[in-house]
C-alpha cells in the first residue's frame, strides 16, 4: 500500500543527536538535496557550548535545523514539524522546539537506562511513553540494529558500521519527503574516495533507510514540498562567516589592493580568520596576533602601508580594540572592524547571539570618534555588507564597523552569488609622488568628500608623520589650538556624514510606503521581522518594515520614510540600542521598542504578537 503524499508549503526539521552522531553532516546533506529540489530554505546549526561534552549528556547534544518551502523562507523556523533524536539527551534538549502534534523520530537504542540517566531523566522516567500521551506522533526505531543489519555483509568493524547510522536515518527522511538521493550519494563517493568500502557502506545504509521507510508502515503520510518561486540563477548555500570571507576576497580583487587581516581567535568570529587564512593565493595575508590589541594595531600599520586592512573579533575582544579604533579615527586611515556579536556582558554566552554591541560601535570610545557602522541582515548579506565596508573605508578613508552576529555567522541560506564583474567598483587612489620643487605635501588636505590622501611609504616626496595627537587642519602637525580642535571634531563628524551620499537609499521591505505602523529592524532579525510583517500585511494590516544595513550614517531618505508612518516599532535582541540612536537623530518621532535578550533569534510568532499589539494600541 502506497503511503499518501501530502503537499506542504513549508516544513521545519531538526536533527539532534550526540556530538559524535554526525548530525551536522546529516543536516547539511538534507539541505543540499532540498536546495537542488528548488525549495527556498534557511538553516541553523546548534552547537554545544562545550567542545566535546561527555557522550550522551544534554551538554553534548548537537542539533541542526532546516526550514524549507515552496514559498519564500526567511528564518530557520520558529518550531519544527519533525524532530529526529538519536538519544535521550537529544530529546530532552529539543522537545521544546517541536510544534504541537509534530512528529518525533526516535532512535530507541539511545534510550537505554544509561542513556536516560546520562540525560538526567529520573530512574522512573519513560520519556518516549510520555510523548505518546502528549499528542505527538512518535516513530520509534532501533537505528543501531537496523544499520547493523543493513551492513552485516560489509565486513567493516562495528565502529565503522555504527558510524553509518546517520545515513540510515537520512534515508528514511528522504523517503518521508519524497527526495532524490543522488546528490548525497555522490557526496559520499567523493568524501570517501580513498575508502571505497566506507563509501559503499554509507550509501547502502542511506538506501536501506529509504527502502525501510517505504517498506514498513512507519508513517501514515508522506510529504512533498514543491519548488519555490525564487529568482532564476545559480545558487549555492552559504553561512554568514563564509560570506564574510568571500566578501573580503572580492573586495581585495576589485580594489586591486593587497589585504591584511589581523585577528585573534574568538567564538563566533574565528571562522572568518580560518577562512581567510586559506586564501593566501588571493593576495590575502592573515596574521594571528598575540591579542586583539596587536591584531588591530598591526592592521593599522598595514593600512598605513597601503594594504586593505581588517580586523575581527567578538565581545570581549572588541572592547580591547577600542583604544586603537580611536587612533584609526584620528589617523583617518582605512580599517574595517568586524564584530560578530555574541551574548554579553563579559564572557556572557559565547555561543549565543545578541545585538547588544551597537551602542559600543557607535559611541564606545573616549572622545568624539565618529566612524561608519554597517550591519548585514542575513548570512548571504554578509557578502554584500563586508564588501560595502571595504569600499567605504577605502573610498572615504574612515574606519568602518561591521556588526554581524552569532546567528548570522553560523546560519546558512541559499545565495545567488554574483560574478566578479557584476560587483560595484572600488576606487582607491594612492597619493602621487612629488618633486622637491613642488609645494610641501599636506597630509590632512581634504577633497570635496572631506577625504584626506592615502600617502603610503615608498612614495618619494610624501614623507609625513601621523599620530594620535590632535592635528592642525591641512598640515597634520600637532595642534593644541582650541578652534582648530573644534573644527577638526566637526570635520570628522561631517566626513562620516558625507558617506550618506555614497550609499543606497533606504527601502521598504514589506508593505506599503506609508501607513499605520513601520517596523524598523537591523541585523539578524531581518528574516523574522520580514516574515512576521509579510504575514500580517497579507492578512490586511497596515504594517510595513524596513531594515537598516547602514546604521551610521543612516541613508539620506530614512528620516522622511519614518515620517510617513503613524507608529514605529523597533524590535531588537538587546535592551534597546538602535532605538536610542533613532530617538537622538529623530527627536520628533515616537519610537517603541520590543526587546528580548534571550541569546536566541526572535520567533516569527512572537513578533507577530508584538506587532499586532502595537497595531491595536
Amino acid at each position: 500500500m502506497d503511503t499518501k503524499i501530502f503537499e506542504k508549503d513549508d516544513v521545519t526539521i531538526r536533527f539532534a543527536g550526540d556530538s559524535g552522531d554526525g548530525m551536522q553532516l546529516t543536516g547539511s546533506q538534507f539541505t543540499n538535496t532540498t536546495a537542488l529540489a528548488g525549495n527556498d530554505l534557511s538553516t541553523l546549526p546548534d552547537f554545544p557550548a562545550e567542545i566535546r561534552a561527555p557522550a550522551g549528556t544534554v551538554a553534548g547534544v548537537s542539533g541542526f535545523q532546516i526550514h524549507f518551502g515552496s514559498k519564500q523562507i526567511y528564518t530557520p523556523g520558529d518550531a519544527c514539524d519533525v524532530l529526529v533524536v538519536m538519544n535521550a539527551a537529544a530529546l530532552k534538549a529539543n522537545l521544546k522546539t517541536l510544534k504541537a502534534g509534530g512528529i518525533i523520530i526516535a532512535n530507541v537504542d539511545g534510550f537505554g537506562k544509561r542513556d536516560l540517566s546520562l540525560a538526567k531523566y529520573g530512574p522512573e522516567d519513560d520519556p518516549l511513553k510520555d510523548i505518546q500521551t502528549s499528542g505527538y506522533t512518535l516513530i520509534q526505531l532501533d537505528v543501531t540494529k537496523l544499520t547493523r543489519a543493513s551492513l552485516k555483509e560489509s565486513g567493516l568493524p562495528p565502529k565503522d558500521v555504527d558510524r553509518c547510522k546517520n545515513m540510515f536515518v537520512l534515508g528514511i527522511i528522504y523517503w518521508l519527503f519524497s527526495r532524490d538521493m543522488d546528490s548525497t550519494v555522490s557526496f559520499i563517493e567523493k568524501k570517501f574516495a580513498k575508502k571505497p568500502e566506507i563509501a559503499a557502506a554509507n550509501i547502502k545504509a542511506l538506501k536501506d533507510g529509504y527502502t525501510y521507510g517505504n517498506a514498513t508502515q512507519l508513517f501514515s503520510e508522506r510529504y512533498a514540498v514543491q519548488p519555490a518561486k525564487i529568482e532564476p540563477g545559480t545558487y549555492r548555500n552559504i553561512t554568514g562567516n563564509e560570506a564574510t570571507v568571500l566578501g573580503v576576497a572580492a573586495a581585495t580583487k576589485k580594489s586591486g589592493l593587497n589585504t591584511f587581516f589581523g585577528s585573534y581567535p574568538i567564538t563566533p568570529a574565528s571562522d572568518i580568520l580560518h577562512g581567510l587564512s586559506k586564501l593566501k593565493h588571493y593576495g590575502i595575508k592573515t596574521f594571528q596576533a598575540e591579542d586583539e590589541i596587536s591584531a588591530i594595531t598591526s592592521a593599522i600599520g598595514a593600512s598605513f602601508g597601503g594594504n586593505l586592512a581588517l580586523t575581527s573579533s567578538s565581545g570581549a575582544g572588541i572592547a580591547l580594540k577600542t583604544e586603537a579604533i580611536s587612533l584609526a579615527v584620528i589617523l583617518e586611515l582605512p580599517l574595517v572592524i568586524i564584530n560578530v556579536q555574541r551574548a554579553g556582558p563579559s564572557t556572557g554566552m559565547p555561543t549565543k547571539t545578541e545585538q547588544s554591541d551597537l551602542l559600543q560601535a557607535m559611541y564606545g570610545r573616549a572622545g568624539e570618534a565618529p566612524l561608519v557602522v554597517l550591519a548585514p541582515q542575513s548570512p548571504s548579506d554578509c557578502f554584500d555588507m563586508i564588501y560595502e565596508a571595504c569600499r567605504i573605508t577605502v573610498e572615504h578613508m574612515i574606519p568602518v564597523f561591521f556588526l554581524s552576529d552569532g546567528y548570522i555567522a553560523n546560519g546558512a541560506e541559499p545565495w545567488r552569488f554574483p560574478t566578479t564583474e557584476s560587483l560595484r567598483s572600488i576606487t582607491k587612489t594612492f597619493a602621487k609622488p612629488r618633486e622637491a620643487t613642488e609645494e610641501p605635501f599636506l597630509p590632512y588636505l581634504r577633497d570635496d568628500k572631506l577625504v584626506r590622501p592615502w600617502a603610503i611609504p615608498g612614495t618619494p616626496g610624501l614623507e609625513h608623520r601621523v599620530g594620535g595627537l590632535e592635528k592642525q587642519d591641512k598640515t597634520g602637525n600637532i595642534s593644541y589650538d582650541p578652534d582648530n580642535h573644534h573644527h577638526m571634531t566637526m570635520v570628522r563628524e561631517g566626513k562620516k556624514n558625507v558617506v550618506a551620499e555614497n550609499i543606497p537609499l533606504q527601502q521598504i521591505d514589506e508593505g506599503e510606503e506609508s501607513g499605520k505602523l513601520l517596523v524598523v529592524g537591523w541585523g539578524s532579525t531581518f528574516g523574522s521581522i520580514k516574515a512576521a510583517v509579510r504575514e500580517l500585511a497579507s492578512e490586511g494590516h497596515s504594517v510595513s518594515n524596513t531594515h537598516l544595513r547602514y546604521l551610521n550614517p543612516f541613508p539620506k531618505n530614512f528620516g522622511s520614510m519614518l515620517e510617513r508612518f503613524d507608529k514605529i516599532l523597533v524590535p531588537e535582541i538587546n535592551n534597546g540600542q538602535l532605538i536610542k540612536v533613532l530617538r537622538d537623530q529623530f527627536p520628533n518621532i515616537n519610537f517603541d521598542g520590543y526587546n528580548r535578550v534571550r541569546g536566541v533569534p526572535f520567533t516569527v510568532s512572537e513578533l507577530k504578537d508584538a506587532i499586532s499589539q502595537k497595531l491595536n494600541d
Binding site: 519548488p227 597601503g306 554574483p418 612614495t459
Partner: protein, 344 residues
C-alpha cells in the same frame, strides 16, 4: 618580494630632519640619540621614502615627528605591533621602532617579546631612562628597587626587569646596549641593528635630566666608566678598568672578575662571541641592583647576533608557494564554491 634597485641621492643628515620644533627638555638624552639616527640614515643605503619610524607614547616616542621620513606616533605600548603589521604588509621598507622603558616593558611588554620571538625585521630602539618621563616622573619597570618617585613616595617595591635577559629569554636574535653619552659607539650599534635581518633590540641608556638625572652616571661619566663598563668586541677578550687591569673569565659556567696583574693573562679570559647564546645570557646578568649578580661591569655593545628566518619572509614565501601550487586565486570559482544549483 622584488628588491627594487633605486638610485639614491646623496643624503646628508639634514635631509632627515623634519620641520617640526624639537620639544624635549633642554639637556635631555633624547637629543643625542636623534642626532645619531639622523646622522646614520644617509649611510644605510635606503631611500628616505622607504624608511618608517614607528613609536608608542612617551617623551622618546615623539621621535618620529623629528625625522623627515614616514612616521607613526601610535598609542602607548603598541609600536611593535603597528610596526609588525606594516612590515608584513611592506617587507621592502626599513622599519624602526622607537620606544621607552615604560612603553616597551610596562604596557607594551607582550608585544615586545612577541615581536622578538616572531623575528619580524624591525630595528627597535629602546630609550631606557628608568622613569616615566612624559607623565612626569613615576617609576618604570626598569627603575631600581627603593626608588622614590611620584608614585612611590616610600620607595618602589618592584623588582626591575633586566631587558637583556628578558629579550634573550624571549629568543631575540639580536640584542645590544648603547648609551646616549657615547654617541659614536651608539651610532655603530644602530648600524649593526640595521644590518641584522630580524628583530634587533637596542637598549639605549638615556638620561632624563628632569626626573631621573644621573641614573646611569656611573657608566656614562668619563671618570667612572672605565671601571664600571665594558665594551664588547667580537673575538676580543673581556677586559676593562682604567688601566685595562681587569678581565672576566668563565669558571665553568660561572663568570668571574679577575685581575690581570694577579696571575691571570689575556689568554685566560672569556673571548666575546656574539653567536654564543649562553654567553650572551650570562652577559645579560652583569647587572647591578640585581640580586642574582653583582660586581660585574655593565656591558655595552652587541651581546648576541644570530640570523634566523624572518616572519615576513616566510609569510611571503608561503604566499608565493600558494600561488605556485594553486594558481592566482580565481574569485569567480571561489564565489561559486564546490556545490551550486541552478534555478530556472
Amino acid at each position: 618580494m622584488e628588491v627594487k634597485e633605486k638610485q639614491l641621492p646623496e643624503y646628508s643628515s639634514k635631509d632627515f630632519s623634519s620641520d617640526q620644533d624639537v620639544r624635549w627638555c633642554p639637556g635631555c638624552g633624547d637629543y643625542t640619540i636623534l642626532k645619531q639616527v639622523q646622522n646614520l640614515m644617509p649611510d644605510i643605503g635606503v631611500a628616505k621614502e622607504d624608511i618608517v619610524f614607528v613609536a608608542g607614547i612617551g617623551c622618546s616616542s615623539r621621535f618620529p615627528y623629528y625625522m623627515d621620513t614616514y612616521g607613526i606616533h601610535s598609542i602607548h605600548g603598541r609600536a611593535p605591533a603597528v610596526a609588525t603589521g606594516l612590515k608584513i604588509a611592506r617587507p621592502e621598507l626599513s622599519v624602526w621602532v622607537i620606544t621607552g622603558d615604560g612603553d616597551s616593558l610596562s604596557i607594551g611588554g607582550n608585544h615586545l617579546i612577541h615581536a622578538l620571538r616572531r623575528n619580524v625585521d624591525l630595528n627597535i630602539l629602546l630609550f631606557n631612562n628608568e622613569i616615566y618621563g612624559l607623565t612626569k616622573g613615576q617609576y618604570s619597570p626598569t627603575s631600581p628597587e627603593g626608588m622614590v618617585t611620584k608614585s612611590t613616595p616610600f620607595g618602589s617595591l618592584d623588582h626591575p626587569f633586566n631587558p637583556a635577559a628578558l629579550a634573550i629569554g624571549a629568543d631575540a636574535g639580536f640584542f645590544a646596549r648603547a648609551m646616549d653619552r657615547d654617541p659614536k659607539h651608539m651610532r655603530s650599534i644602530m648600524e649593526r641593528a640595521h644590518k641584522h635581518k630580524g628583530t634587533s633590540l637596542v637598549e639605549i641608556y638615556q638620561n632624563c635630566i628632569v626626573f631621573n638625572d644621573g641614573a646611569f652616571e656611573s657608566y656614562t661619566d668619563k671618570k667612572l666608566r672605565d671601571d664600571t663598563s665594558i665594551y664588547l668586541e667580537q673575538g676580543e677578550p673581556l677586559i676593562f678598568g682604567k688601566e685595562s687591569q681587569f678581565g672576566i673569565r668563565l669558571d665553568g659556567h660561572k663568570p668571574e672578575v679577575v685581575s690581570l696583574s694577579g696571575g691571570f693573562s689575556k689568554d685566560d679570559l672569556w673571548i666575546h662571541d656574539e653567536t654564543d647564546h649562553f654567553k650572551a645570557y650570562i652577559l645579560s646578568r652583569f647587572f647591578d641592583n640585581n640580586s642574582i649578580e653583582g660586581g660585574f661591569p655593565r656591558p655595552f655593545g652587541v651581546f648576541y647576533d644570530v640570523q634566523k628566518p624572518t616572519y615576513e619572509d616566510q609569510l611571503h614565501s608561503q604566499m608565493n608557494m600558494a600561488v605556485e601550487i594553486r594558481g592566482e586565486g580565481d574569485l569567480d570559482a571561489l564565489l561559486a564554491g564546490s556545490e551550486t544549483w541552478v534555478v530556472k
